[in-house]
């Protein structure tokens, strides 16, 4: 079971990593006249057409309005990426959206996840040390921070942040801070169930060193499930956060808040899909890809946390 889950996590992660490594630095603009607009995935015909591009065809009818239809030579790589995920309206392969989106979210989300893990560990350990003052301080902190509606804070910060600082990372960090209280509480609760300070005493009695007690017995053996789960969740949430913010930016017609304007986020896939649903634009494939990417993240996160739990 555990192995399987591990494999899944590894698979998801490596695929994301691969994608973000392969991602083109900037979005390639298409053309409104592109002969490849809304190519559906696995559409062999247009793949052939793409591979054989560069040839000219002439059709003539009626009043000799001979129309020359020629298309420039295409790079086979583009053709194949067209083949796998199809294209958008102006013939840009959606693979690009997927990979650039991955690039945007990958690092910040992982960072936020790790940060949250640290918070959780801290929360747990603090309980075991049993210092009432610190306890109540942390509680005040967690009460206040925990009482802030996260999205509100994020939106305000995202938009008041000066342009050059704008990006997903600061927001991710902020998010993990905002979700710290929950993590700390849970970890604290676990530590409490162990018996908190008394548990530490007991281990001391066995003559274990502090290092071993805290890092091995408490964190590694007992807090692990909680910590990892919290981390995984926050990681997932950060990805969703990016989606939401980018989508909001699209809806509100403002410049993007989480990435520079010349890369594309997964949100744009969803937005394309929206058009497919509302005005039956042939872009359902975009929606599907978007949703499956979300699914990928979910699967990764859930299997990560279950893996940690599985004993």
């Amino acid at each position: 079971m555990k192995r399987l889950l591990f494999a899944v996590v590894l698979l998801c992660f490596s695929s994301l990593l691969f994608a973000s490594l392969k991602a083109p630095e900037r979005s390639t603009p298409g053309s409104v006249l592109s002969p490849y607009s809304y190519v559906q995935p696995f559409h062999a015909e247009s793949y052939e057409k793409c591979m054989s591009a560069g040839t000219t065809t002439t059709k003539s009818m009626g009043f000799g309005n001979a129309s020359q239809e020629s298309s420039s030579k295409m790079d086979p790589e583009i053709c194949s990426s067209m083949y796998w995920m199809g294209t958008n309206r102006s013939g840009v392969p959606l693979v690009e959206y997927a990979s650039q989106g991955a690039k945007i979210v990958l690092f910040p989300s992982i960072f936020a996840g790790l940060l949250t893990c640290l918070f959780a560990i801290a929360g747990g350990l603090l309980r075991c040390m049993n210092i009432p003052f610190v306890d109540s301080v942390t509680q005040v902190f967690s009460e206040i921070v925990g009482a802030l509606p996260r999205m509100v804070v994020i939106v305000i910060c995202a938009l008041l942040l000066p342009r050059e600082l704008r990006g997903l990372l600061p927001l991710a960090i902020l998010w993990s801070i905002l979700s710290a209280p929950t993590a700390m509480d849970e970890a604290g609760a676990v530590a409490m169930r162990l018996g908190g300070a008394r548990f530490v005493e007991a281990l001391r009695a066995h003559g274990f060193g502090a290092f071993r007690i805290y890092l091995y017995h408490i964190v590694a053996l007992n807090l692990r499930p909680v910590v990892v789960r919290q981390g995984a969740e926050v990681m997932m949430q950060v990805v969703f956060l990016e989606l939401s913010l980018s989508y909001l930016a699209i809806v509100a017609e403002s410049g993007s808040l989480t990435h520079s304007d010349d890369v594309r986020s997964w949100a744009e896939l969803l937005h394309m899909g929206y058009a497919a649903v509302v005005v039956n634009e042939p872009s359902m494939h975009a929606l599907m890809i978007g949703l499956s990417l979300i699914a990928l993240i979910v699967v990764m996160a859930t299997s990560l946390s279950t893996m940690a739990r599985a004993r």
């Binding site: 009432p132 306890d135 109540s136 509680q139 005040v140 009460e143 206040i144 925990g146 009482a147 802030l148 509606p149 996260r150 999205m151 509100v152 939106v155 305000i156 910060c157 938009l159 008041l160 000066p162 929950t182 509480d185 604290g188 609760a189 409490m192 169930r193 969703f240 989606l243 939401s244 989508y247 909001l248 809806v251 509100a252 403002s254 949100a267 969803l270 899909g273 929206y274 649903v277 509302v278 949703l291 979300i294 979910v298 859930t302």
Partner: protein, 322 residues
Amino acid sequence: MKKWWIRPGIRMFAAFLLPILVPAIITMFIWALPGDPASIICPIETCGLEQNRILAKELHLDEGMWSFFSHWISQAIQGDFGRSNYYGLEVLSFQEGKVDLLSESIPNTSLLILFSLMIVSIASMLGSLNMPSKKWDPVIVMIGVIPVIVLALISGAVVEIAYPGAEFPNPKDWLKLIMGAVTLGFADAAFSGSLIGFRETFAREKNQRYVGISILRGESLFSNTFPNVANGLVGQYRARLLHILSGSVIVEVVVGISGVGDLLLRGTLNQDFSVVLAAAFIFSIFSALLLFFQAILECLIALHIRKAPSDIHMYEQQLEAT
């Protein structure tokens, strides 16, 4: 052992601090922005220096951050949030027939929250009655993992298909509210979380020794378990509410409900400070109230439990669990 009142006390404290803290932080942000606030609201090029100065005086932007903030908060308490610079309207006005921003937005948002709250409450009720059976969990969880943005998008689509174009006032607004509520109610594990959460809590409590004993004593299960789990439940409940509250920003914008969340986003986009401050203030009040109620409840329960026969230590644990 800690005093039982410390925690509620701290909550109260936080509840009172919050509505002051949030605008304070935002004010700091505003001052951190490049260019002085007055000329962001009315650039000297278009307003002229003189006007700019006058405006700065009116809004107390000229004597630095602190005087602005103190002035603002004192006004806000009297329900005067100044006027929106982008919409050219009062943010909130109590005059008859005068149009303002909040008196349109607050009802929408509260209705949205209310409806979604219903969904959550149903879920928690089901949970506490230990329904539905565990074999449904995978499905429920699956629904739970859908991020709010995706559901919001779908709701938006449904509304757009139902009533394209924009007409005011029209049934579209109600549909929007309902779809929005559904979104908030199910997305991000609102439904599944509260259902499963409540069920777990009750289940755990049922297996406590004292419950068995009291049942032998011929007392009802619920009367025994409830007081002890109540705290945990209240905590969970508040967490959900908060989550909905924060999700409402996304939903309102994507589905197109003209509520406080929408106001907040557009306000920030247009650097419409009075609106941003007001909206954020409303949100913080909202959540402060929640905190406050939780604290009260905790006290009541604590007092109740002190009368009732039960294991204090157990209760302590419950507290930690929240």
